[in-house]
């Protein structure tokens, strides 16, 4: 009972955060970022159902997102021409059902094996569809894509969805429902078996489950929610193009889920929020943000294999044992020089790439033609890197003592 209550509080909190966010940030830009986040969260979570929970690495997940989105836009067009008659609040469901339909078909032959074979089939199907979308113009609209209008159809209690903020609230409700159902899915026997098949398909088969069938169920559920995300995209932008189902979109969702942390339910949510923020805020300041994203992704794979969520969860033991305080100073001692190093590196990159005669970076005015600026930045970078390296041993020591289990105490149970 207590656990149930505790969990419900988390969910109610999540809903409240979703609903009151626009009260604090109500600019047009903020609302548009929130809308992007909502789409990204559902999409990344659906991807995690495949890779994180089912162990299926997909390079073509945008297929279900895109197909759901295309059908959603076509549904909008049909509502406009009064071929069908229902409120547009159901559009994400339309997208989801089409995503499910596509997954039901494709899953029959792609889920036989996980691993490389699955990855290659998903890549092949992704490329196949991306290429066909330029050929079948009547459904995909060629390079221009298809567009609809969300203001037709019966109004929903007087709301006509003219404004982005109205779409945000609709999206927030859908995101909440989708997140809740995806979480509940992980608690069902099917969700638990998906974990078992991911970790050891052979054993799962020995206790009587068909690994293929278990994968198939996860795959279809994942397609459904990717389609919901596509439907949300269609509602928000009112158009969709071939770009939304090609390899670049598939790659982006992989980045989101991985940077956020695959093993944790909250990971992809974190990743979606971080990447959307980076995308919309950093791209205003620098046209090199994709380069930074690439570097960040590689560093995550190399040093934080369980993503940001994994990094946070690493501190669980220290938190339980109330030793977090002893970690603050060592973290600052290592973190501050590391931050300085990163900032100066970005400064160097920006300085060597700027086309103007003066670069204003973090309040400093730098001259790209003066060698002295480069040398100075290089020296700061080198110095801070040295400091970071020097401070690593004390951090490691502090970490070990914070997580050390006293010998006389009974061994504590983590998790």
């Amino acid at each position: 009972m207590m656990i149930f209550l505790k969990k419900s509080i988390v969910w109610v909190g999540y809903l409240i955060v979703l609903l009151i966010l626009p009260q604090f940030f109500d600019s047009v830009l903020a609302v548009s970022i929130f809308n992007q986040m909502a789409i990204a969260i559902v999409f990344a979570l659906s991807y995690n159902m495949l890779l994180g929970q089912g162990g299926m690495l997909s390079f073509g997940h945008a297929v279900y997102f895109g197909l759901g989105g295309f059908l959603a836009v076509h549904a909008l067009i049909m509502i406009e021409s009064e071929t069908i008659y229902f409120s547009i609040i159901w559009i994400p469901l339309v997208g989801g059902l089409f995503g499910l339909l596509a997954a039901l078909f494709i899953g029959t032959f792609s889920t036989h094996k996980a691993g490389t074979v699955f990855a290659m089939i998903s890549l092949g199907i992704g490329e196949l569809l991306a290429a066909s979308s330029l050929i079948f113009v009547s459904f995909f609209g060629g390079e221009a894509g298809v567009s609809g209008d969300r203001t037709f159809g019966p109004s929903f209690f007087g709301v006509e969805f003219f404004q982005d903020i109205e779409i945000y609230y609709l999206g927030a409700v859908w995101v909440f429902i989708a997140t809740l159902f995806m979480y509940l899915f992980t608690q069902t026997p099917a969700g638990k078996m998906a974990n078992a098949v991911r970790d050891n398909p052979e054993r799962a088969e020995f206790i009587g489950y068909s690994a293929k069938q278990v994968r198939y169920i996860s795959f279809c559920a994942s397609g459904l929610f990717a389609g919901v995300a596509g439907g949300l995209f269609a509602l928000n932008y009112e158009f969709i193009t071939e770009e939304n189902l090609n390899a670049a979109t598939s790659g982006r969702v992989l980045l989101m889920a991985y940077i956020g942390g695959l093993g944790y339910f909250i990971g992809p949510i974190l990743g979606a929020v971080i990447l959307t923020l980076m995308n919309s805020l950093l791209s205003n300041y620098s046209d090199l943000w994709m380069l930074y994203l690439g570097i960040m992704f590689l560093l995550t794979v190399l040093f934080l294999p369980r993503g940001f969520a994994g990094f946070i969860m690493m501190h669980q033991l220290a938190w339980v044992r109330h030793t977090m305080k002893s970690l603050v100073v060592p973290y600052l001692l290592t973190g501050l020089p590391a931050l300085l190093f990163i900032l100066t590196c970005i400064g160097l990159i920006e300085l060597s790439h700027t086309g103007e005669t003066e670069l204003n970076y973090l309040g400093f005015s730098l001259d790209p033609t003066a060698a002295i600026d480069f040398v100075l930045l290089g020296m700061i970078a080198g110095g801070s890197l040295l400091l970071t390296k020097k401070s690593l041993p004390q951090l490691r020591k502090a970490w070990e003592s914070a997580n050390e289990i006293p010998e006389d105490a009974p061994s504590e149970k983590v998790e």
Partner: protein, 316 residues
């Protein structure tokens, strides 16, 4: 008709052999480390860009030799400090790492060389028609590409099957522990193979750059096709990769050169069709139109019906 056929065959051979230079390295790396290197085509792109930069200073021929060496060294560094580190986290992490690397290399290329197409030219020395057939010229540079690819193929085959190094490599693929116990440095062998594979991809980039244009998207264009080849040929099989490369090269070349399509088929069968039908896109498909998706169609079919590929080993 015959001239179209002959030229389509020649062009298909050029593409196929070029693809094989990439696929051979990729399949060799796969059989060693069990990881499909997503960044393989990125090394091909780096080869073209390095060669372009070198050729501006020292001419094409220096670039032809220097660029693959630089790319090979870069590949070795990636294996030593990147892949080997991620290896402990499992295959998915390795695959994701190479995927991220491909992403990063594309962005880095745009950072250093800019997003526009580079004017990388074939050398003047090879700027003459090799022969003229049916009034159509076949450029000597394409002949040169065929020559390089075939000599690489023969060289690779000879090294792998006849030389001492090749025999150790082959042994390390199947029995890494035994080879290690015999006193060979297996991690070094892995690094070397990765480096040489990347270098081969770089060489392919050097000779393909002038023909297929040098631009930041060139890795993406070729990358997934090379995957298709390696999978169709059978993962880890060099001979399979060779057959699949030539097959895909010819298939695409014939499809583009042909001028038949659904309308012809329907006419042949005696069907009439309506231009305003909702499925009109399907009725009016032509073979050149679907040429780019043929490899992927083939890939999906092969994976469904023969997951081990043409010459792949039977799974245990």
């Amino acid at each position: 008709m015959l001239d179209v056929f002959i030229f389509a065959t020649l062009n298909g051979l050029v593409t196929g052999l070029l693809l094989f230079m990439l696929a051979s390295g990729l399949t060799l790396i796969f059989s060693m480390m069990g990881v499909l290197n997503f960044a393989h085509a990125s090394f091909y792109m780096l080869g073209a860009y390095f060669a372009y930069s070198v050729s501006l200073q020292f001419g094409f021929w220096t670039g032809l030799i220097l660029a693959p060496i630089i790319v090979g060294l870069l590949g070795a560094i990636v294996e030593r400090y990147g892949l080997r580190r991620v290896h402990q986290h499992g295959h998915v992490a390795e695959l994701v790492f190479t995927f991220g690397l491909a992403f990063l290399i594309e962005e880095a290329v745009q950072f250093f060389w800019g997003p526009d197409t580079k004017n990388y030219q074939s050398p003047d020395l090879l700027d003459f028609p090799l022969f003229t057939l049916f009034g159509q010229e076949f450029p000597a540079y394409r002949g040169f590409m065929i020559g390089i690819s075939i000599s690489i193929f023969i060289g690779l085959y000879y090294v792998l099957t006849k030389s001492r190094v090749g025999i150790i490599i082959q042994a390390a693929i199947t029995h890494p522990h035994t080879v290690s116990n015999l006193g060979h440095n297996v991690p070094l062998i892995f690094m070397g193979v990765f480096g040489v594979g990347s270098g081969l991809a770089g060489l392919a980039g050097v000779i393909a750059g002038p023909v297929l244009t040098t631009f930041p998207g060139m890795a993406v264009v070729l990358g997934s096709i090379v995957f298709v080849i390696v999978v169709i040929g059978g993962l880890g099989s060099l001979a399979g990769a060779f057959i699949a490369s030539i097959m895909i090269g010819l298939l695409q070349s014939y499809a583009i050169a042909s001028d038949v399509g659904m309308p012809d088929l329907l006419n042949l069968l005696g069907f009439e069709f309506d231009r305003n039908h909702p499925l009109t896109d399907l009725w009016t498909l032509t073979l050149p139109q679907i040429a780019p998706i043929l490899p992927y169609l083939l890939l999906v079919l092969v994976l469904i019906f023969r997951p081990t590929g043409l010459l792949g080993k039977r799974e245990q």
